[in-house]
Symmetry: C3
Subunit: 210 residues, 3 copies
Amino acid sequence: MHIDLLLSLIEVAATIAFALSGLIEATRKRMDIIGVLSVTFVSAFGGGTLRDVLLDRRPLFWVQHQEYVWLVLAMTLVAPLLLRAARHEIGDKLMEFADALGLGLFTISGASIALSAGMPPVIAILMGSLTAVFGGVSRDVLCNEIPKVFHDHRPYTMCTFIGCGIFLGLRELQLAPQLSTILGIVSITGLRLLALAQHWHIPPWPPEKR
Amino acid sequence: MHIDLLLSLIEVAATIAFALSGLIEATRKRMDIIGVLSVTFVSAFGGGTLRDVLLDRRPLFWVQHQEYVWLVLAMTLVAPLLLRAARHEIGDKLMEFADALGLGLFTISGASIALSAGMPPVIAILMGSLTAVFGGVSRDVLCNEIPKVFHDHRPYTMCTFIGCGIFLGLRELQLAPQLSTILGIVSITGLRLLALAQHWHIPPWPPEKR
Amino acid sequence: MHIDLLLSLIEVAATIAFALSGLIEATRKRMDIIGVLSVTFVSAFGGGTLRDVLLDRRPLFWVQHQEYVWLVLAMTLVAPLLLRAARHEIGDKLMEFADALGLGLFTISGASIALSAGMPPVIAILMGSLTAVFGGVSRDVLCNEIPKVFHDHRPYTMCTFIGCGIFLGLRELQLAPQLSTILGIVSITGLRLLALAQHWHIPPWPPEKR
């Protein structure tokens, strides 16, 4: 399979996952349909838009792929009704999983695009993380909550750094691009889900004096 | 009248309207003159700047039209003294009207610019709305208030979608550009003022179960 | 000394100063190491990034100068341990000084870059101020505080306007670029420190009726 097609599939799946996390949070805040659409839109496209602006890529990916805009619009109209039919307990787990999937997918997609634009490894890692994290940060800001990623002491951005490092290392080892892409995504999503399941915490920095 | 001249006139009037809405809110917060200038500046230029960055247009419109910067500076120096002389009750109605006018003007101006840049209709609607709404969102964020547009359940962005749809529809019908522009603006500003006068509300999405 | 080399040195020093102010604030909030890194990064690079995006300069200065990214990473790892060893009373004064230094350095560096890009004086002043102020604004927003610069009624942005005016005036008078650059920085940093030492306040605008 050609690597560009793989990247496109990654982008679609990541868009759905992040849109869903925004949609769930917005409906919980009892926003109107435009508010839900706005938060869903920003959650899905915020990180990728910032990446495209910083790398000076035009057209923006949601301009080039108008179908994403229609997808988000359709999700806004249909998904809240489907979610309401589901049990409420499912909500939290579903949102955590969608978020972890989006984290892995957006990070590796962002890092790959940065590499294609000729960026060195350290910038590719930053662009990957930023692509994944900025959508969620914008979502929380629009919902008037402190961005979770900065204050919950749970591994989140840390997972993107580690998984992105694995992805770049595998590329250096001349692994097939598809395989290193898949392994990068799996390591980030897996790390995040493992961290949540095991209740891992990152201590404050610097650590307390003894 | 040439359509470019019309668009320039729209931009001047929209800049004044949005600057005024920012200026009124900043003086209510008892900011210093630099704070008032900053909020006025961001209210007037925030939406258009985001539009220009997303469409990769340079120079930015306030760089190309330096006179707008001087206009906002002059307004910051003079308008608070004039407003203080006026009755306080006028303030609320004046701000609502200025805001509704800016909403219509910026939406159609933003959508027109997006069309000129070769964007398809759905992107033009998004760019138009974003041009109109992002200035106000930034204004509220700088004044440490939740953006009204996301939580007051009043039609605001909804008006830009409908009016922008009318504008694009009239263009499809080969109406003279000036006429479709004017009708687009009037429909947005009119819808917004009507919604305020009639106390229309948009319910939460999804609607409550019965 | 060539003016480009001087500007590079200015940029390094300003980056350290602003990074330090972000790092101190983030460690006070007891963030984890990723949170400290993020806030330090945004404090150091936020203003310059916005300037580069608005002027459409690529690569961004922290992409072109990867060593800055490593510098900020190294500071995040080492500086909190060094700061903890120092007395706590030093913190406030050190942060005020670092912030004032960064204010002067970033303003003149931003204005110089804007002039090199062919911007007129009024836009150069805005770009200079924005380069200096936006990093701090982003830092405060990420730390969930109202940006100090908008509500503390202390001269801050005002210093950048005055010092940038002095810088542009001296250039008009054909002073050597190095000298006008140094004098511009010194006037902004000096004004800011003087304002803090003398407890100067800017009254609300418009002033209260008598």
